[in-house]
Amino acid sequence: MITIRKAEERGHADRGWLNSYHTFSFADYHDPAHMGFRVLRVLNDDRVAPGRGFGAHAHRDMEILSYVMEGSLVHRDSMGELHTFGPNTIQSMSAGTGVVHSEFNGSRDEPVHFLQIWIEPAVQDVEPSYQQHVFEPQEKQGRFRLLAGPHGNGSEGAVRIHQDARVYVAELASGQSLKHSLDAGRYAWVQVARGDLCFNNQALKEGDGAAVSDEQALSFSADGPAGTEFLLFDLP
């Protein structure tokens, strides 16, 4: 079964400096019908004005991933981590017992567009940690590039999360296609980050998501002229 979450039906917050779309309930947007999907709790599509961002705030027991589409983010936290990162980078923070951090647009001139993802951990009270991996753009072109998984920092350079979930990104040029097979009992979330995607014969556009249950064969293709970029969450 595939359930589409249309981009325009997401929660929306426009604070001037922040334009954010919430696939699931977040902050002032609360919809009991959209509290997350399996262990995927938050999927925010954020655009932050130059020089602006989220001041120091706390997290506990959450796997927090950021994936920049355009621009750059500056991250600072109570573990002493200070990093600036941009596209083709997966950044994660395991909040565990508690962490305080801030994140700001790293540019004074350009907005930053990024996806923030929260995944509920399988274990609580882990030691907080920070990870970041940069990869080459071609690693996601025409194939799935693992961004995060339970085994993390293997040869693929993915971040380790404390959950049996895998997050992939793929970029397809017009006419390209990909397949993914879900193991029995697994679920998936598909999120279109850019362009138009044909997913199991259903048309998704930028910002659309799809919840997948009781399916094994997933097929993806880019039919539009500009190609597409999307995230695939393979979830317990």
Binding site: G55, A58, R76, G98, V99, V100, S102
Partner: protein
């Protein structure tokens, strides 16, 4: 429970302690708000960053809090307008009876704790509060959260 951490930082050193105290409070399962007193450090780079990452405390923050941690540098300027404004704000928020802790090394501890005591805050004991390392600041934050969680039992009058 809710813990408000307010700090007065010129160089970033007290900010680090405040962050550690906030983490400790989160470890103690508190919700936290971190606020910075608007003081001029003379270092525009640090000031610009601190101004970007923190806002100044408001009365609503103090009313929200079950516990208040106030961090300041060892060489505290007790006549600082920002500090005086903070105490005015805390007084106006009627914080008496809430848990409080001074996050400062020995130099200014008595000054800060004395002022907090005058507000009627229930202060954590000195041996737990006098802190100038990240680890002890984190422990203090956690202890403050735990004390606020069982606020019926007075800590130190």
């Amino acid at each position: 429970m809710n813990v408000l951490v307010v700090f007065y930082s010129l160089s970033g050193a007290t900010e680090r302690l405040a962050l550690a105290a906030a983490v400790g409070a989160v470890q103690g399962r508190a919700a936290i708000r971190l606020r910075r007193l608007a003081v001029q450090s003379g270092d525009s780079t640090i000031e610009e960053r601190l101004d970007r990452e923190y806002v100044a405390p408001k009365e609503v923050d103090a009313r929200w809090a079950d516990a208040i941690v106030l961090g300041a540098p060892a060489r505290l300027n007790s006549s600082s307008p920002a500090l005086n404004e903070c105490f005015r704000l805390l007084r106006s928020a009627e914080v008496q009876g809430k848990v409080g802790a001074a996050l400062v090394s020995n130099g200014a501890f008595e000054t800060l704790q004395g002022a907090m005591s005058e507000l009627g805050l229930k202060l954590v004991p000195r041996e737990q509060a006098a802190t100038d390392s990240v680890d002890s600041a984190r422990q203090l934050g956690r202890r403050v959260a735990e004390s606020a969680g069982k606020s019926a039992s007075p800590v130190l009058s």
